[in-house]
């Protein structure tokens, strides 16, 4: 379907089903039960899952295919957010022009940075992109937010004020981002028994865009262009000797992934019309690298999984506090209860970084291919379990 082979089509369908049914899948526990703490099916987090999914898919086009490790991708995300909020301020709260401009601006910005940074490769490239991103962060945080020329509104973050022009805004339209009148915040709550599921308009907009972006990524991966990018990764020198100039290919990949980042930034602003400078900080750039590696660099679905994994920890584990722990362990005798809380305490709440770090280490050490490799191993183990006995007999020993 859609010009994909059978395997890719089924992958796309799986992704589509997962994203469309996410409100059900992410809310497996009844509201009000003790396990409801682990439910992730509320609009804000679901939006984040898919938006960072888009960001990571784009990053993977650069890192997974060409092997160029950019440490400055958050700059494009931030630039996208700022352009989207400016569209809200100047035109109206409609998300279409905002998202369109964020992609265009991110493309131009990444062309500029890519043109300079791609003159070097390896660690020098990474450092150059990092330097550019930190420069953008400093610009956004203070230089471009002085009272005389306020482009970014600094620490407070760029937001829409009542006295902004908003020339296409009419009173009948909602006072927050909307798609031709459909507010991004409107949510339909479905109650089935003890369960409650949220269907949010903003989430479904992001989800549809992510599926399109995922499809585009598959096409890029399978195209001759994608093959050239892989060639850059496997042996750039040999590519040079065969008379090919890799720079146009790497630059194109850089700009494409920058546009993905800009799109993600625009969507973030569309879901929540505020753009903060922290979005551009180096930690944000590092986060997308982690997402990609955690999920599986160079694989199609990996970055999306990685993004979901990290966002889940950031939002769910950081909210568990000692009170909740005491509830969990309340069935134990007092002394043991306190002891258990004491043991678990460093890993929850503000310690979520620690938990994530440990898991990241485990994945990198035992599953170098990321979560995708874990899934593959599991799949192989399940498939081989049934026919394990027969396989062993028919398996031929190689001749010594």
């Amino acid at each position: 379907m859609l010009g994909l082979d059978k395997k890719d089509t089924s992958l796309l369908i799986i992704v589509a089903i997962l994203t469309l049914l996410a409100p059900f899948i992410l809310n497996p526990f009844p509201t009000g039960s003790a396990m409801a703490q682990f439910n992730a099916g509320y609009p804000d987090l679901m939006q984040r899952f898919v938006i960072f999914g888009i960001f990571a898919i784009g990053f993977n086009i650069l890192f997974g295919l060409t092997g160029y490790l950019s440490f400055g991708h958050a700059a494009f995300l931030g630039v996208g957010s700022y352009s989207a909020v400016w569209m809200f301020k100047l035109l109206s709260y409609n998300v279409i022009p905002a998202i369109a401009l964020s992609v265009v601006v991110a493309a131009l910005f990444s062309l500029l940075i890519g043109y300079v940074s791609l003159r070097r490769s390896g660690i020098y490239f990474s450092i150059l992109t990092l330097a550019f991103a930190q420069m953008s962060f400093a610009l956004a945080y203070s230089v471009l937010s002085n009272p005389k020329f306020n482009l970014t509104n600094g620490e407070t973050g760029l937001q829409v004020y009542a006295d902004d022009p908003q020339i296409f805004h009419r009173d009948s339209l909602p006072d927050m981002p909307h798609l031709f009148g459909l507010s991004m915040r409107s949510t339909y709550k479905l109650d089935i028994g003890a369960w409650s599921f949220d269907f949010n308009a903003g989430y479904y907009l992001c989800a549809v865009i992510m599926m399109v972006m995922f499809y585009l990524a598959i096409r890029i991966f399978r195209s001759p262009f994608g093959m050239m990018l892989r060639a850059v990764k496997s042996n750039q020198q040999r590519m040079n000797y065969t008379g090919l100039n890799p720079r146009p290919y790497t630059l194109a990949a850089f700009v494409i992934s920058g546009m993905y980042a800009g799109l993600a930034g625009g969507l973030m602003a569309a879901m929540d019309p505020l753009a903060g400078a922290e979005r551009m900080q180096w930690t944000a750039s590092g986060e997308v690298v982690l997402m990609t590696i955690l999920g599986g660099a160079g694989t199609l679905i990996g970055p999306v999984l990685g993004a979901g994994f990290i966002k889940y920890f950031e939002n769910i584990f950081s909210k568990i506090n000692d009170n909740i722990l005491h509830q969990w362990f309340s069935f134990l005798p007092d002394g043991i209860e306190d002891f258990m809380v004491f043991i678990v305490h460093p890993f929850i709440g503000k310690g979520w970084h620690l938990t994530l770090g440990i898991l990241f280490m485990l994945v990198v050490i035992f599953l170098p291919g990321g979560l995708v490799e874990g899934g593959q191993r599991l799949g192989k183990w399940i498939r081989n379990r049934g026919k394990g006995a027969t396989d062993a007999k028919t398996k031929q020993e190689p001749a010594e």
Partner: protein, 450 residues
């Protein structure tokens, strides 16, 4: 590699899928039937405590969290009741709020606008929080206040000192108990003039972000009004940890006072650098060189250690204040946690009680009703003395403390001594003051999310 054959069936199928995708969002436009966002229906009501647990202001955030937990205990009738006994409004009975037991959820703002909004959103969307409280930075406060306005819940700001929070960024659903940069300046200026004379020349080092600018603007205006001259204002990047290169030119600038418009770690480092350069031992223009830190906190004082001796600054609250409310709060906080409460802890504690009290008086959790109950509310007995929640901008007006680094601290907690309690009349300003957004600034409409 790619397969681009276009068949009639394929096209139809693609069209159908795309059409369904486009049509999908329009199905979900209905909203729920509740009268306002997160109307509590069971026997409990959930408050959201959004404080920095990691990052540069983590110490303050954790202190806020302790105070908030204490407030919840007192509301539910546990512990010794704290300020419920001294509060002039007697609406709270120690049986929760409006008969519902108070529970709370916590989140980490990381002192980043984005993270703070994500955390507040998850409290509102997932946990059903009806009020958000806490925070230790003005950028975060303004960002979360905007979110609460849009979502239709009440925001009770924690530590936020920028004029903008209740100035140009004021919101109908947002309330601030903490004082602001203008008040700091208005309280400090007369004391500075009395202690240092009216003909000083000031050199400003200012953290290069929203709060720094409003702080510098306020203090420069207030000191110039009484005769001081501002020699120079140098903006320093927020991420700086070494201020030596900014301190060195101060000596040759002809200034005799250094004003450090810094907060948190910035202030600790810049003050330490200034002391290392021996600024306080210098004589300029025939006068002893002085240093001023407009906004103080206990945690900064502890960080700066010996260096704050004799340095003047201002505070919203200090545990050494001698009034009934303050004593009750310090006693309950001290007994539970074994240390006196900080500035930021007190403001969060007071905000939680004020919110609960407003709900009781309004007889509802509806944000519009609660906001109405808070507007123009006069009270006493929460530690700061007589206080007014002004209706026009949702800013609390109360006495401001001018403090000085103690010369001979007797223990780890009395590092600051109170120089003067500036009466509230002296720090009052008009709601349409130019530093607060001027005449255009408005609260907007109350939003209950219905």
């Amino acid at each position: 590699m790619s397969n681009n054959e276009l068949t009639r069936r394929g096209l139809l199928r693609t069209g159908a899928v795309a059409g369904a995708g486009v049509a999908l969002p329009t199905i979900f436009t209905a909203s729920s039937a509740a009268a306002y966002t997160n109307e509590p229906t069971g026997g409990t009501v959930t408050l959201g405590f959004n404080v920095p647990q990691t990052g540069p202001y983590a110490d303050e955030g954790n202190d806020e969290l302790l105070a908030q937990q204490l407030a919840v205990e007192h509301l539910n009738g546990e512990g010794d009741g704290g300020c419920l006994n001294t509060f002039t409004s007697k609406a709270l009975k120690g049986n929760g709020i409006l008969g519902k037991k108070v529970t709370f959820v916590t989140g980490d703002t990381q002192t980043k606008s984005d993270a703070a909004r994500a955390s507040a959103k998850s409290m509102i969307e997932k946990d059903g929080a009806i009020m958000i409280n806490g925070g230790s930075s003005s950028g975060v406060a303004v960002a979360v206040q905007g979110l609460c306005q849009d979502a239709g819940v009440i925001f009770m700001a924690g530590l936020t000192h920028s004029n903008d929070t209740t100035g140009k960024d004021r919101k109908k659903n947002g309330f601030r108990h903490f004082f602001n940069a203008y008040m700091s300046a208005a309280a400090l200026a007369p004391v500075l003039s009395k202690e240092m004379g009216a003909d000083r020349r000031a050199y400003h080092l200012t953290a290069d972000y929203t709060w720094g600018w409003t702080q510098q603007e306020s203090i420069a205006a207030a000191t110039e009004a009484m005769g001081w001259e501002t020699v120079n204002n140098v903006l320093t990047p927020l991420a700086s940890t070494d201020f030596s290169s900014y301190i060195a030119p101060v000596l040759n600038s002809g200034a005799d006072v250094l004003v450090l418009n810094h907060y948190g770690g910035n202030m600790v480092n810049s003050l330490t650098n200034a002391i290392q350069f021996g600024l306080l031992d210098k004589v300029a223009n025939g006068k002893d060189f002085k240093i001023v830190v407009p906004l103080y906190s206990e945690l900064m004082a502890a960080g700066a250690g010996e260096n704050i001796k004799g340095v003047l600054g201002s505070m919203n609250y200090n545990w050494q204040l001698d009034n009934e409310g303050s004593k009750a709060f310090v006693k309950s906080f001290g007994e539970k946690y074994g240390k006196p409460p900080s500035n930021s802890a007190q403001t969060c504690y007071a905000q939680v009680l004020l919110y609960a009290d407003a709900c009781e008086r309004a007889g509802t959790f509806n944000p519009c009703g609660v906001a109405e109950a808070l507007e123009g509310f006069e009270f006493d007995g929460l530690g700061n003395g007589k206080t007014l929640y002004r209706a026009e901008d949702h800013q609390c007006f109360k006495d401001v403390l001018v403090v000085r680094g103690a010369q001979n601290p007797t223990n780890a907690y009395d590092t600051l001594e109170i120089v003067e309690v500036t009466p509230v009349e002296q720090v009052m300003y008009a709601p349409d003051h130019p530093m607060f957004g001027g005449a255009e600034a408005s609260l907007g409409e109350c939003n209950s999310g219905a």
